[in-house]
C-alpha cells in the first residue's frame, strides 16, 4: 500500500543527507529546545524581585538583610538557565556528535533528545526564584531569624536543582558518551529511543517547581517561628524527597532506553517498536503533575509544622498520605511506559 510509505520515503530522504549535515541540522533543533528552559529563571527572578520591592517598600530599614537573601537566592536560580545555554551553545558551535562513531540518524536524534531533556530546567528556575522571593520576605518580616531562613531557603533550593542535574547528565551522556549509536539494531528504533529519553526527562519540571515551592514555604515558616526550624527543615526535606519520585522514574526510563534498550532486540515491525519507544517517552511526561503537587504538599506541610511544631507527626502523616495518592497517575504513566517497553502487546497484533 503505497500511501503508507510516505514515512519510509521521509526516513530515506533524511538518510540521504550526509552525516555532518543531518547531525548539525538536528542539533540546531535541539539547541532551540534546550533554550526553552531559559524562561524559568526569568520568571523566578522576576517574582523574587517583585517580592523584594514589596518588602523593601513596607520596611525600608531592614532592607539590607532581605536584599542579601534575595541576591543569594536569585544567584542560585540562574543555574538552570546557564546549564541550558551551555548545552545549546555546545550543540551549535562545538558539536561533539559529528565526531562520534555510529549511525547518523541515531546521533542526530540524540541531539534532539539532549535538547528535550534540558527543557526540565524551567522547573528549578521557577521554583528557586519563588524560594528566593519567600526567603527575602521572611527575612524582612523577622530580621533576627534572617540567617536561619536563608539557610533553609538555600538548602531547599539546592534540592530543587536535582531535576536539572538529572537532565544535564542525560543530555551530556547523549552528546559525549552516546551509548545508542553503536548498538547493533535498527537505527530507527535507536533514534526513537534517544528522543524518548529526552521526552521522559521533561518530567523534571514538576519536582523543580514543587521543591522550590517547599523551600520558599520553609523559609517563610522559619521566619515566622525560628524555634521550629528543625521540624520545618525535616518536613521540607522529607516532602521534597517524595516529590523527587517522578523525576527518578523518568531517569530510570531514560537510562533503560539508553543502556538496556529492550526494544532493539525484539522481533517485529520496526515502526511499531520505534513508536513504542516514543510512546513510553511521552507517557513519562505525566511525572510533571505529581512532582508539582507533592512539592506543594511539602510546602504546606512545612508551613503547618512551622506554625505548630508539636503537631509534626499528624501533619506529616496527612502530607505523606496525600502525596502517596498524588503519585498514582505518575505510576500509571510508568506502567504504560514499561508495558510499551517490556511487554509490548502490539507486536503480536501485526
Amino acid at each position: 500500500m503505497e500511501y503508507t510509505d510516505f514515512f519510509t520515503a521521509f526516513i530515506n530522504w533524511l538518510l540521504s543527507f550526509d552525516k555532518k549535515a543531518l547531525i548539525l541540522a538536528f542539533s540546531a533543533i535541539g539547541a532551540g529546545l534546550a533554550m526553552i528552559a531559559g524562561i524559568g529563571p526569568g520568571v523566578g527572578q522576576g517574582y523574587a524581585a517583585g517580592i523584594g520591592a514589596e518588602v523593601t517598600g513596607d520596611n525600608p530599614k531592614e532592607s539590607k538583610q532581605s536584599i542579601m537573601v534575595m541576591l543569594l537566592g536569585a544567584g542560585i536560580a540562574e543555574t538552570s538557565g546557564i546549564l541550558s545555554l551551555v548545552i545549546a551553545l555546545i550543540l551549535l558551535f562545538g558539536n561533539p556528535l559529528i565526531n562520534l562513531d555510529g549511525d547518523k540518524l541515531v546521533l542526530a536524534a540524540s541531539a534532539i533528545g539532549a535538547g528535550l531533556s534540558m527543557i526540565a530546567g524551567i522547573g528549578p528556575g521557577i521554583g528557586q526564584g519563588y524560594a528566593a522571593g519567600k526567603g527575602c520576605e521572611a527575612s524582612s518580616k523577622n530580621p533576627e531569624a534572617s540567617k536561619s531562613s536563608m539557610l533553609v531557603m538555600l538548602l531547599g533550593s539546592a534540592v530543587a536543582q536535582t531535576s536539572g542535574i538529572f537532565s544535564l547528565v542525560i543530555a551530556l551522556l547523549l552528546m559525549y558518551a552516546n551509548p545508542l549509536a553503536t548498538i547493533e539494531g535498527h537505527q530507527l528504533i535507536l533514534a526513537a529511543s534517544a528522543i524518548a529519553a529526552g521526552l521522559a526527562m521533561i518530567a523534571g519540571v514538576g519536582p523543580g517547581v514543587g521543591q522550590g515551592y517547599a523551600a520558599g514555604k520553609a523559609a517563610e515558616a522559619v521566619g515566622i517561628n525560628p524555634e521550629s526550624s528543625r521540624g520545618a527543615t525535616l518536613v521540607m526535606l522529607l516532602g521534597s524527597a517524595i516529590a523527587q519520585t517522578s523525576g527518578v522514574f523518568s531517569l530510570v526510563i531514560a537510562l533503560l532506553l539508553m543502556y538496556a534498550n529492550p526494544l532493539v532486540t525484539l522481533e517485529g515491525a520496526t515502526i511499531i517498536l520505534a513508536a513504542s519507544a516514543l510512546g513510553a517517552g511521552f507517557a513519562m511526561i505525566s511525572g510533571i503533575g505529581p512532582g508539582l503537587g507533592q512539592g506543594y504538599a511539602a510546602g504546606k506541610g512545612t508551613e503547618a509544622v512551622g506554625l505548630r511544631p508539636r503537631l509534626q507527626a499528624e501533619v506529616v502523616k496527612t502530607m505523606i498520605l496525600g502525596q502517596a495518592v498524588a503519585q498514582t497517575t505518575g505510576i500509571y504513566g510508568l506502567i504504560i511506559a514499561l508495558v510499551l517497553l517490556f511487554a509490548n502487546p502490539l507486536l503480536q497484533l501485526l
Partner: protein
Amino acid sequence: MSETTDLKINVYKYTIILACVAAGFLVFFIEDYVPLIYGLIFGTLIATLNFTLLANTIERAARMAPEKAKAYATSRYFIRYTIYGVVLYISIKADYINVIGTIIGLLLIKVVILIRYAFNDKTYYKKIFRKK
C-alpha cells in the same frame, strides 16, 4: 551606599580562593592545563561580573514598585543571559580557551554561595539530624 557590598566582597573573596584551588587541582592532574586555566579565569571573571550586575539589579528593583520590579528584573536577567551566551560562544570558538574551564568558572560562584551560606552552619545541621 550599597546594602550588598559586604556580601559581594565576601563572595568575591571565596570565589577567588576556590578558583585558585580549582586551578591548582587542574595543574596537577590534567596534562594540557593552559586552555583550562584560561577558561577558568574567563568564566570566573564573567560570573563575578554577572553577580555584580545581579546585585545592582536587585538593589534597584527593591526600590521600585512591585510590578515594575518584576519587569525590570526579568529584562535584566535576559541581558545577563546574553552575556553568558556570548562568553560561552567565545570559549567554544577560541582554540586557546577550553570551554569546560569556562563552565567550571561560571558555576563556581553558585558553589561558593551554597558552601558559604547554606552549608556553613554546623550547629544547625547537628540540631536537625540529632535525633534521626
